[in-house]
């Protein structure tokens, strides 16, 4: 599969004031994003996510390194690249006194759309994002959720091949955030548009992203497909064993595939390298002790654990 984004050794520092010291924000970032993927850049606040997305979106020049997006160099071929990309950011901000329709038309014109093409495009986006009844409402009168929907609609005005989503659900209530996530998935599924998404909401990344990368203090600490990361980091599945009375008297640490274990009252918590492979042997060992199990629960490792692992 061709890479929609390829970054090589990207670094960026910001100076405070004219002669102030430089603060390193990104250091030597290498990144590959496959065409058609939804790629998540994760990290705590201040990790450099927005800086990275801004460099790739041609809004900021890197100090060193090189990046291509859709095959175009983000610095030297920015003008041609801008035709093919777009951005939706958290806390949507547009001109307060323009209506929803006027804002979309303004951005449409910036991409060279006009006449019937512009009218049709705006009409289809208003319909797609359920903004039809608000077309004549000025931006300042929209609710936060509607503003965010407008931000997404604006991001699609030029039918981009690659979309940058900078914390697209930040500040939205649960229902609206979920709605936006479903829209993102639908867009990716139906149009095949590649998306680079930054978030610190791990559940969101888990739901949306095919691949993730973790940023910590401006450095890319790890990345890849979520199951691959699990394997690489030695993070396993969670196995909860609830016994009817007391736990089976076993040396749990010596059971096959056990990475960590914890015994509490009638419950034993194990972290296994691979639950599907190890479960039969563990259950057999318990069976031999004559202890009765009340309940078994298996939970695959989640992104939050990977996040904890790589950012602490």
């Amino acid at each position: 599969m061709t890479a929609a984004i390829a970054a090589d050794g990207i670094s960026k520092a910001f100076h405070t004031g004219l002669w102030g010291p430089a603060k390193q924000v990104l250091t030597d970032i290498d990144l590959q994003v496959a065409s058609g993927a939804i790629f998540g850049v994760l990290g705590p606040n201040g990790a450099g996510k927005t800086t990275l997305i801004s460099i790739l979106a041609t809004l900021l020049r890197p100090d060193t390194g090189r990046a291509t997006v859709l095959g175009f160099d983000v610095v030297r071929e920015a003008a041609r690249l801008k035709e093919r990309i777009n951005l939706a950011a958290s806390g949507a901000h547009f001109l307060w006194c323009l209506t929803v329709e006027d804002n979309l038309k303004f951005y449409g014109r910036l991409y060279g759309l006009g006449g019937r093409r512009l009218r049709d495009r705006v009409a289809s986006l208003l319909e797609l994002f359920g903004l039809g009844e608000f077309r004549q409402t000025t931006f300042e009168r929209l609710s936060t959720g509607l503003k965010q929907r407008l931000a997404l609609a604006k991001a699609l005005i030029n039918d981009p091949e690659l979309l940058f989503l900078d914390e697209p659900t930040s500040g939205l209530d649960q229902d609206m955030a979920q709605h936006i996530r479903e829209e993102i998935l639908r867009l990716n599924r139906e149009t095949g548009v590649t998306m680079l998404l930054t978030t610190h909401n791990l559940r969101e990344a888990e739901m949306l992203c095919t691949e993730v990368a973790f940023l910590k203090q401006g450095r890319l600490v790890t990345g890849g497909r979520i199951p691959d990361l699990q394997k690489r980091l030695g993070l396993g599945d969670h196995l909860s064993l609830h016994f009817q009375d007391s736990p089976a008297p076993l040396d749990y640490a010596r059971l096959p595939g056990v990475l960590t274990h914890r015994v509490a009252d009638s419950r034993v918590e194990l972290v296994l390298d691979r639950a599907d492979e190890r479960l039969p042997a563990i259950l057999e060992a318990i069976f031999l002790t004559d202890k009765k199990l009340a309940r078994i629960k298996v939970k695959p490792v989640d992104l939050e654990e990977i996040y904890r692992e790589v950012t602490h």
């Binding site: 910001f14 100076h15 927005t50 800086t51 801004s54 979106a57 041609t58 809004l59 900021l60 020049r61 003008a79 041609r80 801008k82 035709e83 990309i85 777009n86 951005l87 950011a89 901000h93 547009f94 001109l95 307060w96 006194c97 323009l98 006027d102 038309k105 303004f106 951005y107 014109r109 910036l110 991409y111 060279g112 759309l113 006009g114 006449g115 512009l118 000025t138 931006f139 604006k154 030029n158």
Partner: protein, 264 residues
Amino acid sequence: MKLPTSFYKFWAFSVRSTMVNRRNVFAVFEMLFWPLIGIFSVGLLTRFLNLKADTVSFILIGAVTMNTVQIAQLDLSYALLYSVWSKSLKHEFIAPINLSHILVGSGLVGLLRGFLVFVIMGALSIFFFDMDLGKPGPDGLLWFLLGMFLNAAIIGALVLALVLRFGQRAEVAAWAFSYLMLLLCGLYYPISVLPKSFQVLAHFIPLTYFLDYFRHFYGFPLAWPHPLLYGFGQSVIYLFLSYGLVSLTLRSAYKRGTLLRLSD
């Protein structure tokens, strides 16, 4: 007919400026109220001082010029300030536009608004103060208007550069720049009354020459043999320089992260 995509990019900024002006009661206020105050306060002062007709014309030309240039430069100066105030700057600059789209698109609306102010003030001058603004004829009016609009464009471009460098704090510059220029170019007085060092500065302001050219139709002798040549020559040079300055500031904004900071 299929228009080139660039046309729509210019048009985007023209339409936006028009809409903001139309929907903002203060913008309408700004365009009508101050010019009215300007022409009446200056006109009534000349009446109180019992000045001769040619001196009244001299001063009223200054009042008309000041308001025309002020209003004409506003749309250009505000072109980026609208984006800074609405924190949408990054959305504009992620689009495939260049500086000329912003400058020409917004500048055209400024030109139209400036022209409207000139016509209104001219009509009021004729009606209330017997000063014939049409005396120089179509050619004289055209050159003078063109000169004023070029000066407005230079001020607007310089303000754009300041906005890209300093953000909202540069708002005050939108007014300060033009007032400073107008003070030095001999708006209500011949530049010979300025202190010597300021007279030298006045020679570097194109509007000085355009005022000199326009006033000669009202019987005032030309201070320079070819005022239009000096005026347009300087204007073209300054326009190129200010365009270069805005381009450099934009390049620096891409490096320093100013576009992002102004969108936060």
